[in-house]
């Protein structure tokens, strides 16, 4: 029976939201054992979060001072050592996994399946190409290690309640010093994380200014939603790029997505097509967003959004 190794995504302190989704994807491979490697410093707090995920057999905690920040060049040689004896090496297809895993694959001398969106068989996988406008099914030869990034929006997060064994592991990998972490500037926010939020409210170019985005924030706060934006709104400088939803931004799968003043360019739709319910508000009745929206309302967003915020506050 085959074995799966998942590389946990984290920011140095907190487990990322992608790992639990990889566990769900791994379960579909029909493997005998799903283990998760945590390369961090300190590793214990993140390893404990992983150990509680349902479906994880063993957590490999690799603590090393160099692992304090996830740097692909530093992590990859260690992952290669850990991968011995595993048939699959997976990581979430977020910036952590996209940066790290191809480096791992090349060191292993194998190709990679990017953005794996469904498991069709133990060696057969579906993934999107052309910004999701086509899907291909690819087959990897038997006996070759499968290295794949998992499209997180395609898999639900594994539940809690697990009690995996945490094992401290050290590798003899020689680590390079040519890559050094300098700083990270993260936009501070009390709102839910855009990538994993159950509800998301997004604004587009029609908001017309950074200041006008306050009506989007007010609605989001009323329903406990994260805030996103279209590429047009980001390019216009209304909001930071970390808020961009779409093929070139974040690909999300919330239960509710509210698109406000967003026309619905293909690259935006690609980022939201796994949302359960899409609500669209736009003044143009011909906007492509209405082609995919479950509920649409045509009108002036500057009137509708405050009214909606107000109405959702009443019972």
């Amino acid at each position: 029976m085959s074995k799966v190794l998942i590389i946990a995504d984290h920011d140095g302190a907190q487990l990322g939201t992608g790992t639990a989704r990889c566990v769900t994807a791994a379960a579909k491979l029909g493997a005998a054992q799903v283990d998760v490697a945590v390369l961090a410093s300190p590793a214990a707090p993140i390893a404990a979060q992983v150990a509680s995920l349902s479906g994880v057999a063993k957590v490999l905690a690799v603590e090393r001072a160099e692992n304090a920040r996830p740097l692909a060049a530093v992590l990859a040689p260690q992952v290669v050592k850990l991968a011995a004896g595993y048939d699959y090496v997976l990581a979430p297809s977020n910036t952590f996994g996209k940066d790290l895993l191809p480096r791992v694959a090349a060191l292993l001398g194998v190709g990679q399946v990017s953005d794996l969106m469904s498991v069709e068989g133990p060696q057969t996988f579906k993934r999107p190409i052309y910004a999701g406008n086509a899907l291909i099914t690819v087959e990897s030869p038997a006996g070759v290690k499968v290295v794949a990034t998992i499209r997180t929006a395609s898999f639900a997060a594994a539940g809690g309640g697990g009690s995996a064994v945490v094992e401290s592991v050290s590798t003899d990998a020689v680590l390079p010093t040519h890559t050094r972490f300098v700083s990270i500037s993260a936009p501070k926010s009390d709102r839910p994380d855009l990538q994993s939020a159950a509800r998301v409210v997004s604004g587009g170019r029609a908001l017309a200014s950074s200041d006008n985005f306050k009506i989007i924030y007010a609605l989001a706060d009323r329903i406990g939603a994260a805030v996103g934006a279209s590429r047009a709104a980001v390019d216009a400088g209304y909001v930071p790029s970390a808020m961009q939803v779409g093929q070139t931004g974040k690909i999300i799968a919330p239960a509710l997505y509210v698109a406000i003043g967003i026309s619905g360019a293909i690259q935006h739709l690609t980022g939201i097509k796994d949302a359960r319910t899409i609500v669209a508000i736009n003044k143009d009745p011909e906007a492509p967003i209405f082609e995919v929206a479950d509920v649409g309302l045509v009108g002036d967003l500057f009137k509708i959004v405050p009214e909606l915020t107000e109405a959702l506050g009443r019972n």
Binding site: G16, T95, P102, G111, P128, V138, A186, A293, G296, A311
Partner: protein
């Protein structure tokens, strides 16, 4: 320092691609082809580094059939000093592309390789990282800012949690994100000048690389379409509909 820029010929980003009815792939006949947009950003950045006198030469490298010369001529018109086409009539997987680029890098003694973070056709997003691994050099993916000082580059990266800055020793590989720069437009005199710039054609085998595809594409299909929902006429109706669907309380 020489800078290598990877150029891939892809379906133009304005084209709405269609899957062939028999599921054998995407219809490419008569479709407009262009330089991968992320590669254009890579080239622009290389040109700006050279304009700051921090590079001696910008070399545009593409792998593919003879048709790709069109895109390499565009790269030369944008400002690349010379171009190399590695001839190959079948599509290569990213690992083989990385092996090929590495062979060119070693031959040319390149100090910095700038590639797009992904190509907009296969959306694999692997080549830069694989190249850095095989080269045993640093990588800085999804770059939104590059500053070079002596033999070190400070690169700001767009990561999910914000903007991360890394310091990497050169030689290195950098992959570009959308906001790194806005590529310049090509002017007519530049197109004329580009015709005189050197474009070398070489063969995959001549670089000691053998194409060895690992994956078999079983089928290509169109994605499932979301169906059009309902339209409501005002906010009270919208709220009622949202509550009925249980998406708000």
């Amino acid at each position: 320092m020489k800078i290598l820029v990877g150029i891939k010929r892809v379906v133009d980003y304005n084209v709405r691609v269609r899957v062939k009815p028999d599921g054998s792939g995407v219809a490419l006949d008569g479709v407009k082809m262009s330089i991968n947009p992320f590669d254009e950003i890579a080239l622009e950045e290389a040109l700006r580094i050279k304009e700051r006198n921090q590079a001696s030469e910008v070399i545009a490298v593409a792998i593919g059939p003879d048709d790709v010369q069109t895109q390499l001529r565009s790269a030369l018109a944008m400002g690349a000093d010379r171009a190399i086409l590695v001839k190959c009539d079948t599509p290569l997987e990213p690992l083989d592309v990385a092996r090929t680029l590495l062979a060119v890098i070693k031959q040319e003694q390149v100090g910095l390789a700038i590639l797009g973070k992904q190509a907009i056709d296969d959306d694999a997003g692997q080549t830069g990282q694989m190249l850095a691994a095989l080269w045993e050099r640093p990588q800085a993916t999804f770059a939104s800012k590059i500053e070079i000082k002596d033999q070190v580059a400070a690169v700001t990266r767009e990561v999910d949690t914000g903007l991360e800055t890394l310091e990497i020793d050169l030689p290195a590989v950098v992959t570009t994100d959308l906001r790194l720069n806005e590529p310049r437009y090509i002017k007519l005199p530049d197109i004329m000048k580009a015709k005189k710039k050197p474009l070398a054609v070489t063969e995959l085998a001549g670089l000691g690389v053998k194409s060895a595809p690992q994956f078999r594409v079983v089928k290509t299909e169109a994605p499932p379409q979301r169906s059009r929902g309902i339209m409501v006429k005002d906010v009270p109706e919208l709220v009622a509909e949202m509550r009925k669907r249980g998406v708000v309380s």
